[in-house]
């Protein structure tokens, strides 16, 4: 080890390889059979269970837990995948504390819900490890559907369409499929190459072709696709990143958190990945948490996450924020960036404290500075490269309840479309439901 957490600047190998491997391993390991049965035994099999209602994909949770109790995790997996083909990743990244587990009656009763997320992972991993694909395709329809984006929305849509006998071609701008599951989520939430394993398993349905490195507007056009395919589904996510709009944003050491997270996820040798001694992450969402926590795990000595409003307004859940603090991230609220200082490279970020004024957020007049070799911007992503013909509202593609856009024959879902919550699980639900509507439309 050549460097330590106290080495100045942005340098690699602050920790030895063993520590890095441990830091980026599964946050929680998969249940073993016995743990799963004990955890499953806590489920009350509620009537009209609140957890099902709370799940955006409406998985029959009490049923799959009962199937685990009965010793058939593969049957449980089938129950999950029937509703949510991205069930393995959702088991890892869903904010369960605000969804299924948050509504669990045992959460109400004891503050200790049934561990639905971990049980779902146990079930889905069992099936994925066997590499069995439990679904088969309907008779070929001869219809062809183009999907833009191989993220959760696009994959869920493609799988459902393929099941119904349609031929699907997915176009994705990146070199690998998976979308945010592959590029945008902390490594310790998707350890062991699960994102690609899930895509490979999903492709087992057949009838889906993935074209990578295909950027909409550069390599392909919506108009071109509409001519060739019977329907188009847009699930390309949010490719743009919001700017700080503070002087010094262009200094060395300042970069987008999403790029850092993607680079880390694609990195084969974490000891070669440089990280600052003093890292400042600006933002309050999941991306900010993932960047901040992983900075610490790479060996950054001081990591601060700074958000302009108060904690309750942060996009990240309490669970994620608690985890960040446990990992040694300092969370500073009610402070907005004013300037990045430094002589060429960033050395400090200046913040102004804020308060809620009559016309919105205002600086109080008091400022402070944080040392920063490296600054990660995580203040939100935005739609980029959307075809002009589509109606946009609030920065997202306008869709109706079935996922139809303003253009005939074009559907959209996931983060690029209105109505979602920027979650893997909502994107999956939108992709699945759009597929049902596409099917109904093109077969009519």
């Amino acid at each position: 080890m050549t460097n330590s957490p106290q080495t100045d600047g942005i340098v690699p190998a602050r920790l030895d390889p063993d520590d890095l491997a441990r830091n980026f391993d599964d946050l929680y390991p998969c249940f073993d059979d016995h743990e799963a049965r004990v955890a499953a035994d806590r489920c009350y099999f509620c009537h009209d269970a609140p957890c099902i209602t709370a799940c955006p994909t409406e998985i029959d949770i009490p049923l799959f837990i009962r199937q685990i109790q009965a010793g058939q995790p593969e049957a449980a997996a089938r129950t999950i995948f029937d509703q949510n083909i991205m069930g393995a990743m959702c088991a890892r990244v869903c904010p369960t504390e605000t969804l299924c587990e948050g509504s669990c009656v045992r959460q109400t009763a004891e503050g200790q819900p049934v561990e639905i997320g971990r049980l779902q992972r146990y079930a889905t991993d069992t099936l994925l490890e066997r590499n069995e694909h439990p679904y088969s395709r309907a008779e070929p329809t001869g219809k062809r559907v183009a999907v833009i984006g191989a993220g959760p929305a696009g994959l869920a849509c493609a799988h459902r369409l393929a099941m119904k006998g349609h031929d699907v071609v997915i176009h994705d701008a990146r070199p690998k499929p998976g979308g945010l599951n592959e590029y945008g989520i902390a490594a310790y939430k998707a350890a062991g190459g699960i994102a690609q394993a899930e895509v490979d398993w999903l492709m087992g349905i057949g009838g889906i072709r993935i074209e990578t490195n295909k950027v909409l507007g550069r390599d392909i056009t919506l108009e071109g696709l509409r001519k060739v395919f019977d329907a188009v589904f847009l699930g390309m996510g949010l490719a743009g990143v919001n700017a700080l709009r503070a002087p010094g944003e262009d200094k060395d050491g300042v970069r987008d958190a999403v790029d850092f997270i993607a680079e880390l996820r694609q990195c084969d040798d974490l000891s070669g990945l440089p990280i600052g001694r003093h890292v400042v992450v600006i933002g309050g969402g999941m991306t900010a948490v993932d960047a901040a926590v992983q900075s610490r795990l790479l060996g950054a000595e001081r990591v601060s996450m700074v958000y302009r409003r108060d904690r309750s307004a942060m996009g990240a859940s309490d669970y994620e924020l608690d985890h960040a603090q446990t990992e040694g991230v300092t969370i500073i609220t009610n402070a907005m960036p004013v300037a990045v200082h430094g002589n060429g490279a960033a050395r400090e970020v200046e913040f102004a404290y804020t308060w809620q004024g009559a016309d919105g957020l205002e600086p109080t007049g008091e400022t402070f500075r944080l040392r920063a070799d490296q600054v990660f911007k995580a203040i939100g992503q935005r739609l980029e490269g959307s075809p002009d013909a589509l109606a946009i509202e609030g920065g997202k593609i306008v869709v109706d309840a079935q996922g139809r856009t303003s253009l005939p024959g074009v559907w959209a879902g996931g983060d690029c479309a209105a109505g979602g919550e920027d979650l893997t699980v909502t994107a999956t639900a939108q992709g699945r439901d759009a597929a049902e509507d596409i099917h109904a439309s093109i077969m009519a």
Binding site: R37, D41, Y44, C46, H47, D48, P50, V105
Partner: protein
């Protein structure tokens, strides 16, 4: 502090907890460990006739069922009576009894169903200074195929005959151990009583197959692909045992016959329940086999504490305390009307009461869109299923509709007086009240 000292048919022990005749009492080593731990007595594992020792299987002897966290709920065995030479057992019994004079030591016996065999074994054990004998008419596996164990216990005439031989050829107190694998437990108990038994002990194990291996299609426990029925015991059999004990305790033919209660005694509470239903003491096996002899400390401390809390000073005061309240269905008060009540502060809105009532009972629980569950008094028959399936203790209770108040289900005022089936107008056999 309550005095747990026990005197069961003249056999004294420092507490009413004996280890039942079973693997834990097969030799001096175990029995002495049990006495050191504090057990009041043991029934030595069943001795057979002199001759070549018994042969046991060399594969699994036990099978079990478990809760989700591997809590053992029921155990099944196909072990036979002692497979050690008779003289070794006799020597050890004598040594142990001499060393542990304050503890009860009873010898369990099982020999062929002829007078000479019984005479011979009784003579052989005379010298051990043991406190009594227990006749094993219970084991349902293996030995029953040879005309012993439950093969005797299922024929009241045999029970009476053998018991009489034992009383004739021995001065020792005689306990007859009964098999539950019969249609009516009172008949064998009456036979033992007629034969002169000093007491009965029950239940022995229940015939069972614990599970089937769905890969090999063989019953468990499995020996080389085959399985046989074994004797089931442990917490799962306790309700069956409690009823059989109570039936003997309240039957006029056997009332007053001392009973040693056996069957799933796991905690002090189980022991207290057996004793209030008429057992003079209890015998324990599965709990000791699951957790070791150390449980005796919880059993004695727990029984003692409960007796203190209830104001009992001697175990005799609790024996049979609940027997007068065991009755026939026909004498239950039909004018005792209750309704389920759901405590909304305790309710966690799981809806299990609703599912159970709506799907399988009387459609007497209402569910609001906000998941508030309420009882419909005009439908509730007070079946208690909602109470039983509710995961929250005391959330649903049965509250009495006081006499004089309207029962909304029947539209009738609840009568003040006791009234049962024997006098009910719907009963064709009803006798007019006189």
């Amino acid at each position: 502090m309550a005095n747990l000292a026990s005197n069961f048919i003249g056999i004294k022990s420092p507490n009413p907890f004996w280890l039942a005749s079973a693997p834990p009492t097969d030799k001096a080593y175990n029995v002495e460990r049990a006495f050191k731990a504090g057990w009041g007595g043991v029934v030595w594992k069943t001795l057979g006739s002199e001759g070549p020792p018994i042969v046991n299987v060399n594969g699994p002897r036990y099978g079990a069922i478990w809760g989700a966290d591997r809590r053992l709920l029921g155990l099944n065995n196909i072990e036979l009576i002692t497979d050690r030479p008779l003289e070794v057992n006799l020597r050890e019994i004598k040594e142990v009894k001499r060393k542990w004079k304050d503890r009860a030591l009873i010898i369990s016996l099982m020999v062929p169903c002829d007078e000479e065999s019984w005479k011979a074994i009784l003579k052989a054990i005379e010298d051990t200074e043991a406190d009594g004998v227990e006749l094993n008419f219970g084991c349902p596996h293996g030995m029953a195929e040879r005309g012993m164990g439950s093969a005797v216990g299922q024929v009241p005439e045999y029970i009476e005959m053998v018991t009489r031989w034992v009383k004739q050829h021995s001065r020792m107190p005689c306990i007859v151990k009964l098999t539950p694998n019969v249609a009516d437990i009172r008949r064998p108990a009456e036979a033992a009583h007629k034969g002169g038994a000093d007491a009965v002990s029950l239940i022995n194990t229940v015939n069972s197959i614990t599970s089937v291996n769905l890969d090999t299609f063989s019953p468990e426990p499995m020996i080389d692909g085959k399985g046989t029925h074994g004797g089931y015991c442990g917490p799962a059999v306790k309700p069956i045992a409690l009823n059989m004990v109570a039936e003997i305790a309240r039957s006029p033919e056997t009332a007053g016959l001392p009973i040693s209660g056996i069957g799933g005694v796991t905690t002090w509470r189980d022991a207290a329940e057996f004793m209030t239903l008429g057992a003079g003491n209890v015998q324990v096996c599965t709990a000791a086999m699951t957790y070791g002899f150390g449980i005796i400390k919880e059993l004695t401390a727990g029984l003692s504490l409960w007796m203190d809390q209830k104001g009992f000073s001697e175990t005799d005061q609790i024996v049979g305390k609940a027997v007068p309240n065991v009755t026939d269905w026909q004498y239950l008060n039909l004018n005792y009307v209750t309704k389920a009540r759901i405590d909304q502060d305790l309710c966690i809105s799981c809806g299990r009461c609703y599912a159970a009532c709506e799907d399988t009972s009387h459609q007497a629980i209402d569910m609001s869109p906000e998941r508030v569950f309420t009882v419909k008094d005009d439908e509730c028959v007070a079946c208690n299923l909602c109470v039983n399936v509710c995961p929250v203790e005391d959330c649903i209770t049965m509250e009495r509709v006081e006499p004089g108040k309207l029962d909304e289900r029947t539209g009738e005022v609840v009568p003040d007086e006791y009234g049962n089936w024997t006098t009910h107008p719907n009963n064709p056999m009803a006798k007019a009240a006189e």
